[in-house]
């Protein structure tokens, strides 16, 4: 296996992108990424597209995007790991480069969710679990699935709805400084509390929005990086796991088993101490599709003990200057959540943070040279944890 690094990355303005079609949206992310990497597009050996689709018109998005980017006839594939599709694309791209089959691979995620009406999108995401036994008869929704976790967590650890709202307040705060975020408004706990219920006990401001967006990550081999003197963040460890399709087959509703497993794998591969991961990282991107998801992520990643994730929020330990800054781009909550592009956008954000290119209020101090992306698909159906490092380190 060869060492693999990221040499360029970008994500588009997230939101309701009625101004562009799928090819045009992909082009925005791609052209910025190759500019940053300072490479010709002919250099790309293979293309991995992450997209969930259903709500959008194109059935073969990898081919549509490939043609639009002008990178055909290079090989391509579309991958799906629900909301973790983006990280799965980065993992596949990493593996192809690490194995020596390619020198440069593009992982690009895209989603045009607003091509369908809201209720249809709600339906498609609700079907992302076990269709026959959990959707067909009981009409679960994505907020509904996470609300089942929220109820169990709040009951066990005496957490209030106000406490969960603190997560939304933080992520909107950082989103307000991110020009690419879907929501740029700062909010208060009161504003969050007064928003209507989507799936009790989760309210509108506990939820990430329906989003159009694209994100690109260019992944290259050590030889290529040396030759091109690329600005690099190395992929030092990826962990992954799959949860049960039926939520009813799980024992516990206060954390995501798949995310815990993925984290431990990633720590082992990246050489991080699983007892104190937060102290070895400069920042993290975690999958805050709902406020409860960010709280559980702190615990699943080992940033907090079981039941104490909410304390990190209340004590502002995941703001800049705290134990570990989390979601300095606004997270899924404020930046937006274009399902198939979210993973690449997290990794793009970390790449720029590590290289000190974010600047302004969102840039955090880089002292340890390491950052982590926690990307969950569905309701703990898929989990990917990716550790990036400025140091080349051992082969992951």
């Amino acid at each position: 296996m060869r060492r693999v690094g990221i040499i360029g990355a970008s994500y588009t303005k997230f939101g309701e992108r009625f101004d562009v079609n799928m090819q045009e949206l992909a082009w925005e992310a791609f052209s910025d990424a190759i500019k940053e990497a300072n490479i010709e597009k002919d250099t790309i050996d293979y293309f991995v597209l992450s997209n969930m689709g259903g709500w959008s018109s194109e059935s073969l998005p990898a081919v549509i995007v490939s043609e639009g980017l002008g990178i055909n006839p290079k090989g391509s594939v579309r991958v799906e790991a629900a909301c973790a599709s983006g990280s799965s694309a980065v993992k596949l791209a990493h593996d192809i480069v690490a194995s020596g089959q390619a020198n440069v691979v593009l992982a690009l995620g895209i989603e045009k969710m607003r091509e369908s009406p809201t209720k249809t999108v709600v339906e498609y995401i609700g079907r992302a679990g076990n269709f026959m036994w959990e959707f067909e008869n009981f009409g679960l929704t994505f907020p509904g699935y996470y609300a089942l976790y929220a109820t169990a967590y709040m009951s066990k650890y005496s957490v209030k709805e106000e406490d969960l709202c603190e997560v939304a307040v933080k992520n909107h705060y950082y989103g307000s400084f991110n020009e690419k975020a879907q929501f740029r408004n700062k909010i208060t706990v009161e504003k969050c509390m007064s928003s209507p219920y989507v799936a009790w006990p989760l309210k509108l401001y506990d939820c990430s929005p329906i989003t159009d967006g694209a994100a690109a990550v260019l992944i290259a081999s050590e030889d290529f990086i040396k030759e091109h003197k690329s600005e690099t963040a190395w992929i030092s460890g990826i962990g992954y796991a799959t949860g049960t399709a039926n939520l009813s087959k799980r024992d516990d509703f206060t954390g995501l088993e798949a995310a815990k497993r993925a984290a431990l794998q990633a720590y082992a591969r990246a050489g991080l101490d699983p007892e104190k991961p937060a102290s070895q990282l400069d920042l993290a991107e975690v999958h805050d599709c709902f406020t409860i998801a960010e709280v559980m992520a702190y615990e699943d990643l080992g940033f907090a003990k079981k039941g104490e994730g909410i304390k990190l929020v209340k004590e502002k330990q995941t703001y800049k200057g705290g134990l570990i800054p989390v979601n300095l781009d606004g997270g899924l909550k404020a930046k937006g959540h274009p399902i198939g592009a979210t993973g690449e956008s997290m990794i793009a954000e970390l790449y720029h943070q590590l290289l000190g290119k974010v600047k302004g209020e969102r840039q955090t101090d880089i002292k340890k040279g390491r950052a982590l992306a926690h990307n969950v698909g569905g309701t703990g159906h898929y989990a990917y944890v990716t550790v990036l490092s400025l140091e080349k380190g051992e082969v992951a």
Partner: protein, 170 residues
Amino acid sequence: MSDETEKLEEAAEESKKKLGSPIVTDQKTLSSLWFDQRELNVRYLVSVEKIKKFYEEISAGKVMATKCAKCGEIYFPPQSYCSKCGSDSMDWIELSGTGELLTYTVINVKPQSFSHYPDYVVGIARMPQGVNVLAWIDGDTGKLKVGMKVRLEVKKRDPEGYLTYWIKPE
């Protein structure tokens, strides 16, 4: 068709008369959008051949799971083979008795195909047989509590008029 889609269709019809093409304008961004002229309705045919007994028993008011005759693993939803030991010799057992409510939620914002229902309550119950069941909760939802005692009940789901199972507080 959702209200959102109906409005778009009206606008597209207007546009076809004026411009000749079904172009609608997004009110927020003022972008031009093509309103799809092809409508796709999807209904799947899902095989239940190997778990037919579940539907025979539910008509008698029973909710059934399967149990591996070789290793004893219990499956709900019922499964015709054992993922654990590989056996395809399965017995049917009834999920009965008093269970415990593990968690619940109220679905306020509904999917398109559930938009004809009032807000519904979904819960997960741990049954004494050792498996969990996810279903709608029937009863006084204001009194629900994690950990409360519940049982399963079979009744008709209207307006579709088919049999399914509910979680019922005791």
